[in-house]
Symmetry: C2
Subunit: 354 residues, 2 copies
């Protein structure tokens, strides 16, 4: 039997659909959302109003969350205005990290993540979170100072989630130490970066429950997608290699994992979901691939709503269909099937010891 | 606008169906469940095994919870074994009080409620509770010592629920200070007892969110039910008076309220639900009226399951149908409609101040 604590079990169960597949929406973007609004409003990031970000998030959350098994939002622009829009049977994830990264005291190409000031996992739990999401930038070849900082940050959140018995969903995002991630060179490095990062954070000391991962290759640089709109004009691998990479990732991940969209277009994301779930992913946690094109209509909220109700809803339906092939979380080898899961320390004294 | 804190809003939303109606199942019985098992196993209460109570609760929870919008269980026999049976979209209520009552230091006819030792609202929240339920026995004419004890107990739970931002569902149960509650005399007193108790605990200082109330009259002693199987052979009132009593109760309750079953038969309970919801109740939280007859088949678990899948499921369906007439909680005058509800302290600094 595999023991699981009560709060983690309830949380994970709520994040997935009744068959154990994660079809989750992210609307916790802050930096990228402010930038997108600045672009459409033809102004600078500093001139984007809080109220506009909150209003746009509320619109997106209201129209799209009924399609999701769970919604990830942020406590700054999202939660106080959007939470009334989330249906009773759609679970709530709250973000813990400050948007973006800093490089204080380390090389300017390295990325340090930090918490949102005056926010805590205790607050998230009280506010109704069913799980905590942490985004940590990670490059396994960064300096020891950066690695140590990022590892300590993840470990802190793991400890806090254990203390509050909340599921811990860790999102890992790689980056280029030299040059740009939008290159065939980085595409070639990516499988190694993603898989080594997974090897690090599946260590039990981090107390992660679910991994939210980048697609471990880049289909923009995959020869077999030459005819696709998203093909970048150069190839790092062929599809057979990409499938092998996904398989290696799944073998490395001793925990259930879901795929993120990183803002790619919906066509590419659907391919990612197909390939990832074929390899053993348990679903997705996706934001921009589904709704990003809605932003361009702002501040015409009627046009935003129309896009969300039509194209974005169709995008979501396609993503959900692709995820029907996902491995139910309870069938991941970490759990070994629903019949092998039981509450930890099950006994007449459970409530005393808990 | 009516402000509500984030955790309370999410919790209450999950307890009800999408239309705001509560169709909740109670399986947190301890004393009465042990007694029922003792009866069927033809033994004394002290000889009933923990494992049998836990197993029976697991069976009932597994078969019936898909019919419920929320399930109330207890942390001793119920939670550690049953929680794996509760679907993702059925909310979880956990009981706070020790089963039964004591009369230490007060008249032997008076009832003092107490917490479960080594259990807490912090633990319940960590374990995944969407709301806390407290049963308090209450007789407004009890001695000042008893009233003070019960009021302080309720106030303590109200404070703790506020601290953890969890909905507080208070169950009030009246009793006879002299003689038996199973009498036409008590039936005549009951409306006054229930309504005066509601008047007490709707005071804002108790921080209650939802009241779980006895039917404020007794249909066993209502003249118009002379042909019913449950009629007791004597009348305290006529149906028109009962309807007036329900109306008075609703006028007194400045909070949404639901009706409990107190173990009456299903026919009587369905009548209770019809009359209560007609007067403004927001649904029910019902246990024994739905499943009590399953106990008699124990330890034949196949027969228990058959009863649950057939008769008990039919009972639940009838109760749910009767509750379709209930007032959605957000339409109670305390909230004034979904369009008038907003998160308290909504602002860019919400997460800092929360």
């Amino acid at each position: 039997m595999n023991d699981i604590s009560s709060g983690k079990l309830r949380g994970i169960t709520k994040l997935a659909d009744a068959n154990g597949r994660f079809k989750m929406m992210a609307i916790d973007q802050r930096g990228s959302m402010v930038q997108a609004l600045a672009d459409v409003l033809n102004t600078g990031k500093a001139n984007v109003q809080y109220e506009d970000v909150a209003a746009l998030k509320t619109l997106i959350t209201g129209v799209l969350s009924p399609n999701a098994t769970a919604v990830l939002t942020d406590p700054i622009y999202g939660h106080p205005y959007s939470i009334t829009e989330i249906p009773r049977d759609v679970a709530l994830l709250l973000a813990y990290e400050e948007s973006g990264y800093v490089s204080e005291g380390v090389s300017e190409n390295e990325r340090l993540s930090n918490p949102i000031k005056n926010w805590s996992i205790a607050k998230a739990q009280r506010a109704g979170a069913d799980a905590i999401k942490l985004l940590a930038y990670y490059h396994p070849d960064a300096s020891p100072a950066t690695l140590k900082h990022q590892q300590a940050f993840v470990r802190h959140v793991g400890d806090e989630c254990e203390k509050h018995d909340l599921p811990f969903l860790l999102e890992l995002v790689s980056y280029a130490l030299k040059g740009t991630a939008k290159s065939v060179g980085f595409a070639k490095q990516k499988p190694d970066l993603v898989i080594r990062s997974v090897a690090e954070f599946t260590d039990a000391s981090y107390k992660v429950d679910i991994l939210k991962l980048e697609f471990p290759a880049d289909l923009k640089y995959t020869a077999d997608y030459q005819e696709s709109s998203f093909y970048a004009g150069d190839s790092a691998y062929e599809i057979a290699q990409v499938k092998d990479i996904c398989q290696q990732l799944d073998e490395t991940s001793t925990l259930p994992w879901v795929i993120l969209s990183a803002g790619v277009d919906i066509e590419e994301f659907i391919e990612n979901v197909h390939l990832a779930t074929e390899a053993g992913a348990s679903g997705f946690l996706c934001g921009r691939a589904i709704w990003k094109d809605a932003v361009q209509y702002y501040p015409d909220t009627d046009a935003v709503s129309r896009f969300l109700e039509n194209e974005a809803t169709t995008n979501f339906r396609h993503a959900n269909e692709a995820a029907e092939n996902a491995l139910p979380w309870f069938n991941h080898r970490h759990f070994g099937g629903v019949e092998n899961i039981q509450i930890a320390k099950q006994s007449a004294n459970w409530y005393q010891a808990y």
